[in-house]
């Protein structure tokens, strides 16, 4: 049973990955300059601000439903934007890696598999978070906010791991090229 669930998870991750890479390729021609610019994953702390319970409590105590609604609407919009931007930057990082890997003479299969596994996991966490924030908004319950924030942490860590794996790969390639 557990094996079947892992298999389904992996298949879903691969499907998401193919979809993401394909979409990136379609967008690529139009935005060459943007694609080549340095990748900047948005800081997790920004999402932390968007999900601040203290802000909601403050707005609630103002006894103005209009302001509370405004705050909730704005924070949901910004949380979704944070997620989209994180996803876009991670996608760009992967596409830059794919382009670099085409010309690499020393691809390390184990590192590549690890990288694509992290990328698949990243996309799964992203889709779960997007759906959760869209459906429930970022503030439904404290527990929910905590879990969203924890998952955002997973997302950020995966983004960092992808960046780390790619940087390490590039360093290795440079060392190989320099013969050191």
């Amino acid at each position: 049973m557990t094996g079947l669930m892992i298999l389904i998870g992996l298949v879903m991750a691969l499907l998401l990955l193919f979809w993401a890479v394909g979409r990136g390729r379609a967008d690529f021609g139009a935005n060459r300059a943007e694609e080549e610019s340095p990748v900047r994953l948005p800081p997790k702390a920004l999402l932390g601000r968007c999900l601040s319970i203290e802000d909601v409590e403050f707005a609630a105590q103002l006894a103005s439903p209009r302001i509370l609604r405004l705050l909730l609407r704005e924070r949901r919009r910004l949380a979704l934007k944070w997620l989209r931007q994180t996803r876009r930057e991670a996608g760009r990082l992967l596409r830059q890696h794919v382009r670099a890997a085409r010309h690499a003479a020393d691809l390390r299969p184990a590192a590549e598999v690890r990288l694509w596994f992290h990328a698949g996991l990243f996309l799964m966490v992203y889709e779960v978070l997007m759906t959760a924030v869209r459906l429930y908004g970022p503030f439904r319950t404290r527990a929910f906010v905590r879990s969203v924030f924890a998952m955002a942490g997973v997302l950020t860590n995966l983004g960092d791991r992808i960046a780390g794996a790619i940087t390490a790969g590039r360093g290795h390639a440079v060392r190989e090229a320099e013969g050191t």
């Binding site: 900047r40 948005p42 702390a45 920004l46 601000r49 968007c50 601040s52 203290e54 802000d55 403050f58 707005a59 103002l62 103005s64 209009r66 302001i67 405004l70 705050l71 704005e74 910004l78 934007k81 944070w82 931007q85």
Partner: protein, 139 residues
């Protein structure tokens, strides 16, 4: 550059009690056309390039500090600022809302998402001040 930042802090920023007032001061030293910072005293002492970098760095730091300040504190700082300039509170709130003058507080190197969160927070803080005239600057 560290010396220039320390100088700026000791001579000027230390006299400004809140992050919001520091941010307003620092953004007011920036030319709206060229985006360059102007500070004659600092430029004389450390050279124009260093003064430029010091002001830009302090501006960015103050902006980030305020961006991560919670809403209650932002509203308090805004109320204190409006009180300190001695203008009619409702008039200031109307002007800030209408002209969106707070957009000039955003530093040049700021990313889109941070800028959006900042302007969103200021808009909500302005609404909060309008809805709750009794929000007092408590120290």
């Amino acid at each position: 550059m560290e010396a220039a930042i320390q100088d700026l802090h000791d001579r000027t920023l230390a006299n400004l009690p809140e992050v919001l007032t520091r941010l307003i001061y620092l953004s007011s030293t920036r030319d709206y056309n060229t985006g360059e910072y102007q500070h004659a005293g600092l430029a004389d002492r450390y050279g124009p390039d260093t003064a430029q970098k010091a002001l830009a760095g302090c501006h960015q730091a103050a902006f980030e500090n305020l961006l991560y300040t919670d809403l209650a504190d932002l509203v308090r700082q805004l109320a204190a600022y409006i009180e300190s300039i001695g203008a009619e509170r409702d008039q200031v709130l109307d002007t800030w809302r209408g002209l969106q003058a707070y957009r000039v507080l955003i530093p040049n190197a700021c990313d889109d998402l941070s800028a959006e969160l900042f302007t969103s927070n200021i808009k909500i803080a302005l609404e909060a001040l309008r809805a709750e005239p009794a929000v007092a600057p408590a120290h």
